[in-house]
Assembly symmetry: D2
Homo-oligomer: 402 residues x 4
């Protein structure tokens, strides 16, 4: 039993933290009050600095220009990046690209790697992932309306997707579509297919207005129509009917990545809350920090964040030791635990800021509205609680109890 | 003891409800995805319809063109209006104008009434209320930096205000300013002064970006600078040094008004939640409504809203029977209770909607982000809990216990 | 809309309150540290005083020696009685006798009334109600193992019951037993049968040890075996197969009665909490009442109790206006709301008392352990939430939504 | 970073678990329905078996007959012991003796060790710790009424203590008393003094009735009067005025010990909850485990217990690495976190058991009532939250923020 931070990661964490503090946090007011697209030039510059500093793509193997960190090592870095809404993007480990890179790395053909993975890894292009459909519950992945029908050497795709993060400006999409509707196993009916976004029939209908803003470029979530959209069959990722399996493989570490990032948001919100409490006077002699209610929020938040971080590190550690399948219950656990801790910490931080907390003068309001989705995407709380309970109860039912 | 709705209000409630359903709810998509300002022409038309229907300004005496409802009677109407974010505006009982009308009605001179109240009552102009300052905690009203110094027959105002709702496009502001800095009683140092918004030195610095949107016109919250802003002393509302007393008088019913409106939002969110639960299929045979978690949210929300409504009606009834001062503890109670019920009901309604709940395709996300302020403005939860506890404990301390 | 206490009840409430304060609360230390049975002589004396004072059996019609209060009127009295664990017993309106009296009054034959109701109403005997069975979930009343088979003019009962409150020392039990196992409607298979406790074959197996104490006499919950227990068929209450209907009829007002009593416990706990907070010094200059956490508990408890009381009064009012069936959703609502408010208020009151709160030197610990059952008996929270949700969602499903 | 259980502990844990399952859990019905005192003979036998098995006193150095486990190693064992209310006693690591042993080991004179520590370590005698006083808040340890005045070679003690766990049957008490009332530093006024329980003037007034039971022997909490109680000065533990420092030293690991034990209770309650859910039928085809509410309680409990355990292990690890002072914030964190997780898990387990959960047929009700004290003793939640917040905010205040 050893809770210490791995020594080789410590200096990386320190440098990443400094970069976030010095280069990203000062940029936040522009991010919070302008469009992401208008920031692209300055973000490109920052990305170049990150590369030059040897901190690029910490999650990627060195062969792809990354730092080659393990999952638990990356956890510490990801937390630092999460402290700013710009962190992961500037270090090129933002969702959904990070998941798409993993898929391509493990299941892509050499040609797919060359065409899609390499420029992604270099940060030259972006991608999106088109799975969720407005007509079907995301919590039941066997319900899916999008189809890909073989025609000659091609697939012809038709369907309706939404919540494709970063579709606006993406170079290509990985699209989940039913390729084998007749398969007996309902989990083997769909495949993942790479669709370049300029393919005729691929339409970004809109950037969905979410919590008051449609956003732009990477900071957006697209609604997509696929109408007789034709791509070569060689664009299929992995084997036919493997779509769900790949999605599961993608989602396991993906959820850990979200949780790591959320811990970083928690820490930043906690820091803002404490700074405000210790600097805001309520009267000539009393500070906000003197209020017991504020002290309790701080103590409860500190405890909740620390407990959440340990659960995340433990899940990542178990996944490293025994694989994603063995760690699936731990992953479901952190998914709902951390998403809820995050929401509560943000809520308290806003309350401590009073009216200021409602404004876009701090990043709290941004996270408050956008990270509400953390309890919904990649499986809502209710699905993950069911995963945990089913696993636990399974042992009792097997034992002949029921 | 009689819990029935007053018979003379019932038909009004029914008609208001129909108007909201038929005329306002269909307009919401434009409100949620466009600017308030762009809606002004259609809103003006709707206001004319409301007048023509004899439903205008339900809270105002008939002498001012209103329906002359009592507070408890208005509660039922306000709840119906609250079901849409456009309701109160279209019926001309929106904050902060409703509070400003009350102040002018009870404390305005005849000239002030003619110049400011009458066009407000007719809906020809709008107004704002400038009290909160970024540099001082709103929870401690004796801390205030804005001053109004007498100079000849005028006041010269200097100061910095923010969260002046609807300042953008307002005809005048009622400004709290220190007029008597030397007064021994710290609660008698400020006065309320009417400042036309085109007065030189009165600057709307910005519509504050709140939860992602600066908003416009009535749907905005302004930051204001007052620099040597000169108005005649006859623009003072009430006596010198009465600013806090008037603010208190304004806030009492003002808080009840917010609570009534929040009940309406709760009901709409509840309705959306149930509609979604009963219409969304999770599989070929199961509806969202079949999930026990959803059923529990519905039952708990139903109970919480019903309890909150009774508390609001009781507070309004007590205020009618015994006055605002006698009802101040009841008012503080509902302020924090209803604001929290509202936040929880909205949160559950969003969760039931899944990804859709995050979008601006329903009004839930709008309320989720903007009504978070309900736990902050007009006194944060913590202040109101203190008011209740101080009152309760006072009786025990007086009893010699402490 | 009128929230005032009915004038004819006010003086009764005042007198009851004084009696509880002067005669019952001083007796609590003996109740909390001794056995109920040892108190029987002094309780008999107090009951005589209550009769002499003209306050006996406030819920019963005057024809049966009671005060003839309506349900909403009784609510105010019941709250006062609930302030002491001895209140309802001393005024002869304790569960389960109060429910048995109602059943006998409305469904008893003249002979049954003479034999069982009249001495109950006079407080000369006690009774119990034997429905729940250890082998079957109380939440599903159609599952029942106890049978009553006709044999000549008799019923012969066999079965196993528990949680028969006050079985120890009771004169008779009303027993739910399956009389018509072949009935198609599963809700029409059982009947209620009066079984004198000295009938051969009726055995009180034990007073169940509950939260550390088996208790005695009225303050106990019995486990009962019925083995070839023979009673005349004329002991059946109501028609054959009507058992569930009668149980429902009994439970409706029964739940309101519990809620009224719980409000009284809440008020007493609240009073103890405030008294302690205002009298306990934390240092030479600071009282427990100065702690913001304590103030928040007090404010939140005050709000929760007031909201709960209004919901209870409203449910009682609706039941009076429209009958128990029309008010069933309101009754389910208060059942889970008030039980939870009670638990939370008791928990906070204990925390404010510190170590003292754990002791039997106050009644808090007694209620903390015994009223935990309030979320279980007469339908657990989960059943009542389901009742509310089913009713609400029914309207949406019927509307064609699902 | 390594989350695995230390290999040398694994076999010990396995054997302890088996012993608890086979020897202690079957004894619980007698413990829950009888007196602790009546169990002493059988417990003595079990203690002999534990010694014979080489599992005695796992926390003690081998020199004192123990297993010599480190704190993190003991954590795993303590959790197993915590699964039964009898575990720690039978393995001779029960509070308050475990803390007294630690004090004597580190601060006792050779004579004190021989006279008091050695028989304690062998389990031949028991001891108690008398610090808390009814007249003063335990949360403010500088308020203390008990005095020890020097008289010749003796101390003469006078005072009033309560909540001295296991005073009934204890051989000696360690008493906190003011020895240096004139010391400027209020934390250096008291000393700890060993007082044999048969010393004239030492009176066990009563076993306090707690949550319905006064208990007996080790399972009791005593109220004590010291009246001119005379002991030699050599009975002082540590230096004069060191009482608070020793109490702090005692309490640090003491709190970790409680938390470890609570995790064990959580696991047992969780196991009972799952067993019940998987074995209780709600209808002919549905189990309690099929209810989503139950599944959510199970998932949330699993997550909360796992997070709590990691926090406890981390605090113990930090204490091992850097000492108790460095880990004091972590210790305060787990104190309030685990006590609350425990209360919630017990509450849910009871709800899943329905009426059975209220009875003493399972240990749930015992823990529900007695472990409520976990949020009070050794510092109430509020004190520990304050410790955490003060530490966190200190860094912000020092930074010049306030």
């Amino acid at each position: 039993m050893d809770f210490s931070i791995p020594p080789r990661v410590e200096p990386i964490v320190r440098r990443v933290r400094a970069f976030v503090d010095e280069a990203l946090i000062p940029l936040e007011p522009r991010f919070l009050n302008g469009s992401f697209r208008s920031l692209l030039p300055v973000l490109a510059e920052l990305r170049a600095q990150v590369k030059a500093a040897g901190l690029w793509a910490p999650h990627l193997p060195q062969a792809y220009g990354g730092l080659g960190l393990s999952l638990t090592e990356f956890a510490h870095v990801s937390e630092e990046l999460g402290r700013s809404p710009l962190g992961h993007y500037v270090f090129n480990c933002q969702a959904p690209d990070v998941g798409n890179m993993e898929l391509l790395m493990h299941y892509g053909t050499e040609a797919q790697k060359r065409t899609y993975l390499e420029p992604l890894a270099r940060g030259e292009i972006r991608s999106c992932f088109a799975m969720t459909e407005p007509e079907y519950p995301g919590s039941n992945p066997v319900l899916m309306g999008t189809t890909a029908v073989k025609d000659g050497d091609d697939y012809v795709l038709n369907g309706h997707k939404w919540f494709a993060t970063g579709a606006d400006g993406a170079h290509f999409a990985i699209v989940m579509a039913v390729t084998n509707p007749e398969a007996e196993d309902r989990h083997r009916r769909a495949s993942q297919i790479i669709v370049p976004c300029d393919t005729p029939g691929f339409t970004l209908v809109r950037n969905i207005s979410i919590m008051g803003e449609p956003g732009s470029d990477h900071a957006s979530h697209g609604e997509i129509r696929l109408e007789n959209c034709r791509v070569p069959q060689e664009n299929r990722l992995g084997a036919e009917g493997e779509g769900f399996r790949l999605a599961q493989i993608r989602l396991g570490p993906g959820r850990i990545h979200h949780c790591m990032r959320w811990i970083g948001i928690c820490e930043r919100a906690f820091d803002l809350m404490c700074t405000r409490a210790a600097s805001r006077k309520m009267s000539s002699s009393a500070w906000l920090a003197d209020q017991q209610a504020v002290q309790h929020w701080i103590a409860e938040s500190r405890a909740a964040i620390d407990g959440a971080r340990l659960l995340v590190l433990h899940a990542a550690w178990k996944m490293e030791q025994e694989g994603a399948y063995a760690a699936r219950v731990e992953i479901s656990t952190i998914k709902f635990v951390v998403a809820n801790v995050l929401q509560q910490v943000l809520d308290r931080a806003i309350q401590v800021h009073g009216a200021l907390g409602m404004t876009d003068d701090t990043p709290l309001a941004y996270w408050y509205r956008h990270e509400r989705a953390g309890r919904i995407y990649d499986g809502p709380d209710e699905v993950h609680k069911w995963v945990v309970a089913r696993h636990v109860l399974g042992k009792y039912r097997d034992a002949g109890a029921a």
